[in-house]
Amino acid sequence: MDWRRKDLLEIRELSREEILLVLDTAESFKEVSKRDIKKVPTLRGKTIITLFFEPSTRTRTSFEIAAKRLSADTINISATTSSVVKGETLKDTALNLESMQPDVIVIRHSLAGAPHILSKILNSSVINAGDGSHEHPTQALLDLFTIREKKGKIENLKVVIVGDIAHSRVARSNIFCLKKFGNEVVCCGPPSMIPPYLDTLGVRVEYKLESALKDADVIMALRIQKERGGVSFIPSLKEYATFYGLKKEHISLAKDDVIIMHPGPMNRGVEITDEVADGPYSVILDQVENGVAVRMAILYLLLGREQ
């Protein structure tokens, strides 16, 4: 299996083989982060730009650490500090950046399809670090990596995704990813946050959290996207927490070895209680740790692709 893609735009277009290659490669890179000297010379001389049009701490830091551990140079550009505020189009911003010869541009944007625009006009590799409500492919890959690490397999699991499915790029990428490996995916949330036609993705929809969680191997709590108008779809965060917040008593409904995931940042007390987030079943911090290895793997694969 060779990697041939210039860009990583969406999980939906990846094959199982490609996903497994990322996971296997990430296994190799995970060891680097455990060393005293957390750096290998692999991408020495390569330049990676992170272009973030939306605030993010975790994803951006994760990409930056991944790049630095591979000895690449990183430059971070935020929408607030770039010329975007001066009314420059995305295309112009991208072309200007490309003139400085970066090898990879990691983009996060509040609108779906922004990375696709870049991929069409740039020679650099483009990594989608989250575009609107569309996809967040590296998140799904690190989630799958974490599931494989904790469960020893990524097939035939019951995965329950709880929350605002309609506005969640994490949910979309994870659904596409998990369905490729024949998992049972149950989406649970207030009906106003379940997008129409969701069942066409092979997903089962449940409105009652208690029945959704039965015998779950994996529970993913999603962040309520306040910034994407998520709040107008429910009466209040308090009511959401009452019906869909993940609480300690829910864990017993799932399998004994259930793992609890969250893409972060958490709204504690809304989609997840402290007890669950910090409890023994939580793998939330493992997800963050694995994010670095998975992003190292992706940077390596994109730059080492067969031309």
Partner: protein
């Protein structure tokens, strides 16, 4: 394609045996000694050395596996080098590390391996054991333990083939005619 047998199964075994004795002799036993095999075939040769040393000295020498892909200087010129795991389950600080590989040619793999080890820790010494020395170095690197020296001509390739990977133990030279 011509194929010439350089070492057969038995001869290869003798070479590995000799290298073991040389390692033990040079390091006055196996105190503070470790073996790190370079993927792919170096790993299996290192495992055989470990096994022989155990038989001779009754000591379990720590064994590690090194994948040098991340350290290659030609990484973007190759046809997709796959990164595999490095597994060194011991501390390399202040001990003797014997790097084990099947063939030394330009010395670039060894350079990468030395860099990789140095990133992991600070060994007292790094030594190099190989089955075949092709003797066409591009870097000032020389093996400490050599099975055989074979100077290849144009169109020739030396292959160390191992039971674990190739199903057979032998060293051969192929010649494209």
């Amino acid at each position: 394609m011509d194929k010439i047998l350089i070492l057969g199964k038995k001869a290869l075994e003798r070479v590995v045996n000799r290298i073991c004795y040389e390692i033990l002799e040079r390091n006055q036993g196996c105190h503070n000694l470790s073996l790190i095999g370079i993927r792919t075939r170096g790993v299996h040769i290192a495992a055989r050395i470990k096994e022989r040393i155990k038989a001779i000295e009754n000591v379990d020498v720590p064994l590690g596996v090194l994948d040098i892909t991340m350290y290659r200087d030609d990484i973007f010129k190759l046809k997709f080098p796959k990164v595999r795991k490095t597994e060194i389950p011991f501390n390399v600080n202040n001990i003797v590390v014997v790097l084990v590989d099947d063939v030394i040619h330009t010395g670039r793999t060894t350079r990468a391996a030395i860099d990789a080890i140095m990133d992991i820790g600070r060994p007292k010494k790094i030594q190099l054991a190989v089955i075949v020395d092709r003797n066409e170095r591009e870097l000032p690197i020389h093996p400490d333990y050599t099975g055989i020296l074979y100077r290849v001509s144009t169109g020739e390739e030396v292959l160390v083939r191992l039971k674990e990977v190739d199903g057979v133990d032998e060293v051969i030279v192929t010649r494209s005619s």
